[in-house]
């Protein structure tokens, strides 16, 4: 293989794929990226961790000799980063090495054969639909914070996607760690009808979100089966992310969404967020709980810690039901409030031991459920 490519193109492409590659690998080839130069003048770069793979096509300045090889992802990325701006990078393989040349710099890197590079077998992906990248990005932003990191509950380690027939057909995304739940709803895109319920793993979600950032104005093509999902950004010659799906059953979460909470609190999410953040300064790792005392048109936040003393703050709010007290994990509350833009957030409460429903209003696509803490 011999090809020449602009440093900026190479760098952008490697930055997309290299974060898929784990820093520590027991299987050497998983540290490498596959570089495949075709006679048509394009270069395909691919990285994998066996569960997730990202492929990007980039235009080469020239391909002198087609061929494919694998080389350390992080080494090549670090080299590309440090090469002078505007330089042309030549990649050439010979004798199990890859020579990287740019200006006066010369590198010779060890390689592994392309045939050893594992490629995820996608199989048949019968469900296909498109979503605007912006919508997909919002879906991720609104839900990913609630993904569980607890490995024993692996079926919660991702975003659950499913279609449902409510008043009108919808596509829903949900994530929960057992303490809070985030759900995002959008009209069902054409082609998504009959799709299997899937759980997209956390790492795939994170990589996808990064890739979306660069093409927010375009559409994303999504193809999936019950075991694999593929996201194609930028059409032909763009970036393709393929991931295995989590093989597990996501809990029937609809039953934990309260429907009869009759105490309604309306409050400015930003000032609420800031107040929670301020009083939580006192909270230690052990007592992350913030106590909320609700009275007519007033909320008092308080925290007390055996080590750090106490804190309290009063906030104006719109509240007309009976007064009571309820506790929440300050971070969980902030995570949710941080998702709500606009001047008002609605908190639908029942009592100090029951799930609280939080949303912007009854039209918002995003909905959150937060379980209280006993305080």
């Amino acid at each position: 293989m011999k090809a020449t490519i602009e440093r900026a193109t190479l760098l952008r492409c490697l930055s997309h794929v290299q974060s898929v590659v784990e820093r520590r690998n027991t299987i050497p080839i998983l540290s490498n990226v596959l570089i495949d130069a075709d006679a048509g003048g394009s270069l395909k770069v691919m990285a994998t961790d066996l569960d997730l793979q990202v492929t990007e096509n980039m235009a080469a300045a020239s391909v002198e000799m087609p061929g494919a090889i694998t080389v350390s992802a992080h080494l090549l990325f670090d080299i590309a980063r440090k090469l002078p701006e505007g330089s042309q990078v030549s990649l050439e393989t010979a004798d199990n090495r890859m020579a990287v040349k740019a200006g006066r710099s010369r590198f010779s890197l060890p390689t592994l054969p392309r045939d050893d590079f594992p490629v995820i077998v996608e199989g048949d992906l019968p469900t296909s639909f498109e979503l605007p990248a912006k919508t997909l990005a919002e879906l991720i932003d609104r839900t990913r914070f609630a993904i569980s990191t607890e490995e024993t509950r692996y079926y919660l380690n991702g975003i659950f996607l499913h279609v449902s027939d409510e008043d009108q057909p919808v596509l829903r995304a949900a994530a929960t760690d057992g303490h809070r739940l985030a759900r995002f709803t959008l009209p069902r895109p054409d082609g998504a009808e009959g799709m299997p319920d899937v759980i997209v793993p956390r790492k795939a979600v994170a990589e996808l979100r990064k890739l979306l950032e660069e093409s927010l104005d375009a559409n994303v093509q999504i193809d999936l089966s019950a075991s694999k999902i593929r996201f194609t950004m930028g059409g032909e010659g763009g970036v393709v992310l393929t991931s295995k799906l989590i093989d597990g059953t996501f809990p029937d979460y609809s039953r934990v969404i309260p429907t009869g909470n009759d105490k309604l609190l309306r409050i400015d999410p930003r000032s609420f967020y800031e107040a929670v953040d301020r009083v939580a300064t006192i909270a230690t790792e052990k007592t992350r709980a913030v106590k909320m005392s609700l009275e007519t048109d007033k909320v008092t936040l308080s925290v007390s810690s055996p080590d750090n003393g106490t804190a309290a703050e009063e906030l104006a709010a719109d509240y007309g039901s009976d007064g009571f007290e309820i506790g929440f994990n300050a971070n969980y509350l902030k995570d949710i409030l941080g998702q709500i833009d606009g001047d008002t957030a609605e908190l639908h409460l029942a009592d100090a031991g029951a799930p609280t429903l939080i949303r912007k209003d009854d039209k918002s696509q995003a909905l959150y459920v937060l379980m209280p803490m006993r305080v």
Binding site: E150, T152, R153, Y154, Y155, T176, D177, G178, H179, R180, L181, G248, T249, F250, P251, D252, Y253, R255, V256, A289, G327, N329, G353, P355, V369, M371, P372, M373, R374, V375
Partner: protein, 390 residues
């Protein structure tokens, strides 16, 4: 058939009613499923002539022991782990049959597959019993009791065997419950009922209290759970040492141990009881050789790596001694395993008296937690104060 040690992984009990409160929130839903007279039932299923008759699985002669007894045999007082000779005396018509471990294992796989249909949080205790944490109702079935019913139904349909199940909010109570209505029974201990249930129970029914323990308790005036609950922690500690914390909690129906889906194996080993006691060096070395073969195969099957080898001998007066040696690294191969076992044996020769049992174990396994603190990581993040959605 349950070899777990209930005291080893329990949390420190509170000295007031606080821990009661933690438990009474009833956040968890635990099911204990136990097959009824498992080995014997499998034999009766596969051999119709045995149905309705007193059956014992195990060796009939010499030093054979009953591995399992059918309910018909239990009426005569035949129990598992009882010497076969005693069993035969209690029940002269007792039919002994050989064990078929391959079949038991197959059935065990079947029932575990059924458990996993309902939850990934399955902690098998042996081939025929397991704890399930169904706090997350993954199939949306609605209640743990309903899940237990479905499991029992499916076991019956798929294996033609019966199982009993106990449903409660912790492992200790779930296990007591599964024992309550045996065979083919179901018992539910709901939040708030645990302490009362335990109070009425003879202490012998408590997991971890055997005949000797019960005897000692009787001497101290403790017959029931209520008697035990009346003793304070100081009294229990001075009489039962490290077992006290477990007893204190058990008497109140409290047990915070999580269901551990991936129990970390702490050792791999095996032992043999001989038909006749042995003492000669040559016979001992021969025996060791056979045990090395068996144990090393198990080590390979388990892909275990460990660095401590322990040789155990039980003398014909039932006293036992162990000798252990630890390497700075893992034992690498069978030859090394054998030669260390051999060295441990040579150190103990000549024996003061003949032995009836020899055993060899590899422990200090790579990846296992010797201090037992694996607990914290395994707990499904259930903060005491943070309430759970699922």
């Amino acid at each position: 058939m349950d070899h777990e040690n209930p005291q080893s992984d329990a949390a420190e009990p509170a000295n007031d009613g606080h821990s009661l409160e933690e438990e009474s929130s009833g956040l968890r839903k635990i099911i204990h499923v136990d097959m009824d007279a498992f080995f014997a039932s499998v034999e009766q299923r596969d051999n119709p002539e045995l149905r309705g008759k007193p059956v014992a699985v195990g060796g009939a002669g010499g030093r054979g022991v009953v591995a399992a007894a059918s309910y018909e045999a239990r009426k005569f007082g035949v129990r598992s782990a009882m010497p076969s000779v005693t069993a035969k005396r209690l029940c002269p018509d007792l039919i002994f049959c050989k064990s078929h471990f391959e079949t038991y294992r197959e059935v065990s796989q079947q029932i575990r597959a059924i458990f996993r249909h309902f939850t990934p949080h399955v902690e098998p205790l042996s081939l025929d019993e397991a704890y399930l944490d169904v706090s997350d109702d993954l199939r949306g079935i609605g209640s743990a009791t309903r899940i237990a019913q479905l499991i029992r139904k499916r076991i019956q349909e798929e294996t033609q065997l019966t199982a009993s199940a106990g449903v409660s909010y912790n492992k200790f109570l779930a296990k007591l419950a599964s024992d309550q209505n045996k065979p083919d029974g179901l018992c539910v201990i709901r939040p708030g009922e645990g302490a009362a249930f335990v109070a009425a129970l003879p202490v012998r029914r408590f997991h971890g209290i055997g005949p000797k323990g019960a005897e000692k308790m009787a001497r101290l005036g403790i017959e029931t759970g209520a008697d035990l609950a009346a003793k304070d922690i100081k009294f229990l500690r001075s009489n039962f040492g490290s077992f006290a914390d477990y007893l204190f909690r058990a008497a109140r129906g409290i047990d915070l141990r999580p269901v551990r889906a991936n129990r970390i194996r702490k050792s791999v080993g095996g032992e043999r009881t001989f038909n006749e006691d042995i003492s000669s060096g040559a016979a001992l070395r021969d025996t060791l050789e056979r045990i090395v073969d068996i144990v090393w195969e198990r080590i390979e099957n388990a892909k275990a790596e460990g660095r401590t080898i322990t040789l155990k001998m039980k003398f014909n007066d039932f006293t036992q001694v162990t000798r252990a040696r630890s390497l700075p690294r893992n034992v690498t191969d069978k030859d090394e395993f054998r030669s260390i076992g051999r060295a441990l044996l040579e150190e103990m020769l000549p024996l003061p008296m003949p032995i009836r049992l020899m055993g060899l174990t590899l422990s200090n396994l790579a990846g296992s937690n010797t201090d037992g603190s694996g607990e914290k990581a395994a707990g499904p993040g259930r903060d005491v104060a943070q309430l759970s959605l699922l």
